[in-house]
Amino acid sequence: MNMIRILIWLILAYYLLLQLIYLVLLMIGSLQTRRYRKGISFTEFRRIGESRLTMPVSLIVPCFNEAPVIGTTVRNLLKLHYPQFEIVVVSDGSTDGTVEVLRESFGLRRIERPGRRKIPSEEILAVHESEKIPNLIVVEKTNGRRADAINAGVALARYPLLCVIDADCLLEPDTLIRLARPFLRDTRTAAVTGVVRPSNGLLLQNGVIAERRLPRTILGINQEIEYARSFQWARIGLSRFRSMLCISGALILIRKSLLVELGGPWPKAVTDDIEFTMRLNRKIQDRRNRRNERLVFAPDAVCYTEVPETARLYASQRNRWQRGTLQALWRNRGMIFNPRYGLTGLFGMPFFLLFEGLASVIELSAWILMIVALILGIATGAEILWMIFLAYILGVFLSLCAVLMTETTLLRSSGWADFWRIIVALLIDNLGIHQFHLLCRVVGTVEYLFGRRDLGLAMTRKESQPLPA
């Protein structure tokens, strides 16, 4: 009996610790961003844009059946303010006419360009270049996975920096310049990532983001808060501790030589971005390698990605993320509590294991224990309710902190109506959506243990909305 009681309190302590760490990370993220902004001089980005120093970038866009969005994505990328870049779209065996859409929009013609295969990938079937756009290449290949498509794209990429983005992603026009800045300032920069936010409410004009609105559904708005809290502010904090173990696949700028040295992302990974980031950390943080390189978070480089707004797609995505996290942790388990990897091994990896990989299982245990305790009369209903309320209000407090920080940046909500929708969404997040999320992750954990390694349901894409006349 006492054991159950002790377990409940232990889990509560775990939850409090988790929220406390997140709060500290958010605060560090906020301070880091403030410091970053102060260091930007008035003409900095204009000079980067005009400088011969700025390294050219190959943008690799892996895509599988992305016909509804690929045209918009490429048009958006063509509007980037950057001195020299090329776009390499890799169609990973698409069957929905993705290449046809590109051919109609950009006038493709087939060329002979075998590339230099430095990383193995599935067979490249054809390479096309655009008759209208000199810096656009489209690669057709046999279906592998996203990672395999990236690896094929690397063979055709000509420039020393690679920027990998998802086919549904939209970038602000100066995102690439802001991502490239750390490479110009510090030769130790290995890779840079930026802010990823939901694109569902964006309005476009000629491929450029004209207005940012919120997604329409509660699930979408909920992810807006989640992305701000966990994928923006907390990640900046984690990067301070050399513990950024998940660079979103939606946006990464990396030295090509380093990506090739690592053998590219792993094609069998369930979430290739998490696995690749961990492997990248394993390489550069290992004291034996004496690399002295660093991963950088650029808090003003913004990428928008489509988030699922139906329960079915959301469940599939979170299930996949959970399986991918566990797979990546298992493959890189040698880093956990290993002092050879410095802070990454002693803080980052244990944090990721305990508060990401196992969080759902621990939280589910808490719910089960509370029910058992209630049935056996070990805890009273009032005690249980107070504990649930504490967990709820802590979550609300943390989300409000993230909203406060976001409101002082250019990513603030576009009007009072959107602002209050965010507040309502964060208040009701813990009244069902969070529990649904938990369930998806628990199912993901169980399925991972039973050997499931597929990618789940593909996102059904919606075309971005044009700005109303």
């Binding site: 260091g39 001089s41 008035f42 493709l108 360009r113 005690e383 209000i393 407090f397 409101e407």
Partner: protein, 356 residues
């Protein structure tokens, strides 16, 4: 106190904190929105008057009267305008900067213990056009923060203080290619004022190899043709980086009389030097380099082969013919492969259209 009481108290405290935080967010948001709207409105009012002043339709006093109401937003507006104007037109803004008396508060910030204020100050001084800010900027070249030193250097360049060229080279971090290129770009902002000091560095070698690299890069950006002769002498310098930078600049300056001196380096032990030589030969219009480039297609280093092939292609019909010939008849298989690759990349060989 039992644990339940602790939970209750914690929950209540956090609830109160959350409510306060929500109120705080609303206040922050309101203030932020107001500031943004205010700034936009100020710019809307001030910009037409500023344009009228620049077109000499309005007097200095009128525009000063408007800008003086919001001095620091006005400074940002003026800096933005300065960036969009050519150097000659920028002189028209000097009376406005001086009329708003920015110098004293900005100079005070240069002595601040906060690096961000020093950075902002060092940057702004370059726009004011006041010669009295040169000595403090020279002192700022010794700041502990690299960004402040760079901002001070750029401001000195904007002020056209030619005497600052050598102190800048000495004050800034010289290690690494990127640092050197950043400094060269700043020195290029000096324009003509930098020509003499740069030539002196190349000619007399008063500083070390890193300074020679920077000087070579700067003479490229300044298109300093009189630097050709000292640059040719640098081709024999023992430091690899100096030879690379000299070759690159000679290639970029485009004087074909340098070709024999440059081709003498095609057997240099450093592959980066050979690669730079091949690249430079493609920029110098001389068919005399075709045999050397053709032979270098078989170099053991990929980048040397690639630049040799690219340079042949750039040399026009004769070079392209030599490349086509090499793609089938060169004795070295790697040379044939590279020639084919470059021809294909440039659509000269084996490019097939997709049927409609």
């Amino acid at each position: 106190m039992n644990l339940l009481t602790l939970v209750q108290i914690t929950a209540m405290v956090i609830t109160v904190l959350s409510l306060l935080l929500l109120a705080g967010i609303v206040i922050v948001r309101t203030g932020y929105t107001r500031r943004l709207v205010h700034r936009e409105e100020f710019q809307k009012i001030a910009l037409p008057h500023l344009c009228a002043y620049l077109e000499e339709k309005e007097g200095r006093e009128a525009i000063l009267g408007i800008l003086a109401k919001e001095r620091f937003p006005a400074l940002e507006l003026l800096m933005e305008q300065t960036e969009q104007m050519d150097p000659e037109a920028r002189k028209k803004l000097a009376p406005i900067y001086s009329g708003l008396s920015f110098l004293r508060p900005i100079l005070a910030d240069l002595g601040s213990r906060h690096w961000s204020l020093r950075l902002r100050s060092a940057e702004r001084l370059g726009y004011l056009g006041e010669e009295s800010s040169i000595p403090p900027l020279m002192r700022a070249l010794g700041d502990e923060v690299l960004d402040v030193r760079l901002a001070a250097a750029l401001s000195l360049a904007r002020l056209g203080c030619g005497g600052a060229v050598i102190p800048i080279i000495m004050a800034l971090d010289l290690s690494g290619e990127i640092s050197q290129r950043r400094i060269a770009e700043i020195l290029a902002v000096f324009g003509e004022a930098a020509e003499e000091p740069i030539f002196k560095i190349l000619h007399d070698h008063p500083l070390g190899p890193a300074a020679l690299c920077i000087a070579a890069r700067t003479s490229d950006l300044l298109r300093l043709r009189k630097a050709v002769e000292p640059l040719e002498r640098l081709l024999e310098h023992p430091d690899d980086d100096v030879r690379i930078n000299a070759v690159r600049t000679l290639g970029s300056l485009g004087d074909p009389s340098c070709v024999p001196r440059i081709t003498a380096l095609c057997d240099d032990p450093g592959w980066e030097v050979r690669s730079a030589v091949m690249d430079a030969l493609g920029r110098l219009p001389s068919n005399n380099s075709i045999p050397v480039l053709t032979e270098s297609l078989g170099d053991p280093e990929w980048w040397v082969r690639y630049h040799a092939a690219e340079s042949l292609r750039k040399l026009g019909v004769e070079g392209t013919d030599a490349l086509k010939k090499a793609s089938s008849a060169h004795a070295d298989a790697f040379a044939r492969d590279m020639s084919r690759q470059v021809l294909e990349q440039n659509g000269i060989l084996n490019t097939t259209e997709v049927p409609a």
